[in-house]
């Protein structure tokens, strides 16, 4: 089993390499450069800038020096935030994004899972329709609309009441500033997890071994919690792998709306500013994250479902 995970981890390395390679050439081959600002830069200045960032070296040389720096944890200088290196920006933004993402994920599991299971246990009842309807709303309303609605409700509508919440800003991670962004980030995941948990619970409850457990005379409660729960959890865990990637996408929206200094916002600004090094840095870090998350999911999967074999 461990050799399987070692191998999976090793496959991650060429994957990352492929991502770096692809990203690098995509950025360099694209029309338009980071210095195409509103005011045209005089040619002499442009030449100096290009020399400073080694943009005139042969492409392969640029690539290998980038790769070499990358291995030393140096993502290069940011083109737009002139006083910062990309490594500094990521070091600043990553913890913020991870904290919010993890909180959202934990909340999503804590809320979504019970909702889904309750809906499954009373299939086709009013309770079930309520949960399913709520889940559907969470899925079909885009994050940025939900964010604006909650800002309007809690930041503006409830102004002056104890329920007022800051409509944006980070304030060094004060608790009140986290509530809205984390909620907005968590909502679609609550919805998806509830839906998946409901579907898989319904299917599991029809399985023969559940019927056997019931026939043995075990109380319904025990059957659900001890026998069905574990199997019903498997699809939810499977979903958590890709969820990390969706979480990153969600953080781009949430961090932009609420002006939170996380890597999602840096990525968006970097992309719009053609800040090559920043965009590549964030993409590589994000990819590494998704790879590790998928690996963890695979491991948990094996514990939940004994039929899974690692070769």
């Amino acid at each position: 089993m461990w050799s399987y995970f070692a191998r999976r981890l090793l496959i991650g390395v060429p994957t990352l390499f492929a991502i770096v390679l692809f990203c690098f050439f995509l950025m360099r081959l694209a029309p338009g450069g980071p210095f195409d600002g509103e005011a045209p830069v005089p040619p002499e200045v442009l030449a100096n800038l290009r020399a400073r960032y080694h943009l005139d070296d042969p492409l392969w040389q640029q690539f290998f020096s980038y790769l070499g720096n990358l291995l030393r944890g140096d993502f290069g200088p940011s083109f737009k935030y002139k006083d910062f290196t990309v490594t500094e920006l990521i070091a600043q933004g990553l913890p913020v994004s991870i904290e919010n993402g993890l909180s959202a994920l934990v909340i999503a599991i804590l809320v979504g899972l019970p909702l889904g299971i309750i809906a499954a246990l009373s299939q086709n009842s009013a309770r079930d329709y309520f949960v399913s309807g709520f889940a559907m709303i969470g899925i079909v309303i885009p994050t940025f609309v939900m964010g604006q609605l909650l800002i309007l409700a809690f930041g503006v509508g409830l102004r002056g009441t104890p329920f007022q919440l800051p409509a944006g800003g980070w304030n060094d991670g004060a608790f009140a500033n986290r509530i809205l962004p984390v909620t907005v980030l968590a909502l679609p995941f609550i919805a998806y997890i509830a839906r998946i948990a409901r579907a898989s619970m319904i299917e599991t409850l029809r399985a023969n071994y559940v019927r056997t457990a019931r026939a043995k005379g075990l109380p319904y409660r025990t059957v659900v919690l001890r026998h069905a729960m574990k199997a019903a959890l498997t699809p939810v865990v499977t979903y958590l792998g890709p969820a990390t990637a969706y979480l990153l996408t969600g953080s781009m929206v949430v961090e932009t709306i609420f002006q939170i200094p996380g890597i999602g916002r840096y990525f968006v600004q970097g992309a719009l500013n053609r800040d090559y090094t920043l965009v590549m840095g964030v993409t590589i870090v994000a990819a590494a994250f998704v790879i590790v998350a998928n690996l963890i999911v695979d491991m948990v999967y094996g514990f939940l479902d004994p039929k899974v074999r690692y070769e």
Partner: protein, 303 residues
């Protein structure tokens, strides 16, 4: 009593046996689908919305990009002037914009899903049917792409090559095919040892023709379910790109672009958000209900 009924039913069946037509899987599925009220209602609503988006803009007094110069501000609904749902913040007719935006959103959803469908079914069917090395290679590629934050690349591409309608659905389609490939491969694996495939091979069918004529038609059921669930997903992704300012170019619009504009001035003119939001969420709701209904109809094990 019940035995009498059974007997008479049996008799009827015997009488009819002479002219009974076989019911295909599809007819069965259709029967189950039209019994599902939510799915039928969704189909009707989707049809109405799609038709409205295509036809109604021609019949409206205002074009989606025409500015009402006498009222260059958000105006509440005004029947006399022909702004049935009011105007946006620069005086363009909101209904016309929402319907034209629907055209773009639905088209992106449809085209991107077709791209995903094409790549996913091809890769999945080939991997499943050929097995061995080819399967290994293709599925490792899918695994690899799964662990890449692909949305990042869609954004990078959109930034690099500009806001381009064709690029948008190609890029989204190229991201959404992975799950399709996995599903189709799984189905193909369970099909490829069936007798009718063997028969096709025995009668001299080439691998390509067996995949195209026997495997693909038989995986369509699962694929259709997934298609109905992918379209709303793509529409949401389009709205996300629009939020980043990477959607279709003004004055053309889409639901994502409209929602983004509306959300920005939510406080001043909530109507500019509500109108497109109602259209888009209704559409997404309906696609999801239809997808669930189709799944139940095409998957008899769940009855």
């Amino acid at each position: 009593m019940s035995s009498f009924n059974l007997a008479s039913l049996h008799g009827e069946a015997l009488n009819a046996a002479g002219e009974v037509e076989g019911r295909s899987l599809w007819q069965d599925a259709w029967r189950r689908l039209i019994k599902n009220r939510a799915a039928v209602a969704s189909m009707i609503i989707l049809g109405v919305i799609a038709l409205a988006c295509i036809v109604v803009p021609y019949a409206l007094p205002w074009s989606y990009d025409a500015i009402d110069w006498d009222h260059v501000e958000a105006m509440p609904p005004n029947m006399e002037l022909g702004h049935y749902l009011g105007t946006d913040s620069v005086g363009r007719d909101l209904l016309a914009r929402t319907l034209v935006g629907g055209r773009v959103s639905l088209l992106v959803g449809l085209l991107a899903t077709l791209v995903a469908l094409f790549i996913g079914v091809t890769v999945g069917a080939i991997a499943g049917f050929m097995g061995g090395r080819v399967d290994q290679l293709l599925m490792r590629l899918v695994d690899l792409l799964y662990s890449v934050p692909l949305t990042f690349f869609v954004i990078i591409l959109m930034v690099m090559f500009g806001r381009n309608f064709i690029l948008m659905f190609l890029a989204i389609g190229a991201v959404e095919w992975l799950t399709m490939a996995r599903i189709v491969r799984g189905q193909t694996l369970s099909l490829k040892n069936k007798e009718f495939i063997e028969a096709a091979r025995a009668s001299g069918g080439s691998t390509a023709s067996i995949i195209a004529r026997h495997i693909v038609p038989n995986v369509l059921g699962v694929v259709i379910v997934y298609v109905t669930l992918t379209i709303p997903h793509v529409i949401l992704l389009e709205s996300f790109l629009s939020f980043l300012g990477l959607g279709v170019q003004e004055p053309l619009t889409s639901w994502g672009v409209l929602l983004n504009e509306g959300a920005a001035e939510l406080q001043a003119n909530p109507r500019t958000l509500i109108v497109p939001a109602v259209f888009m969420t209704t559409t997404l709701f309906c696609f999801n209900f239809l997808g669930d209904g189709l799944r139940d109809a095409l998957d008899p094990k769940d009855r």
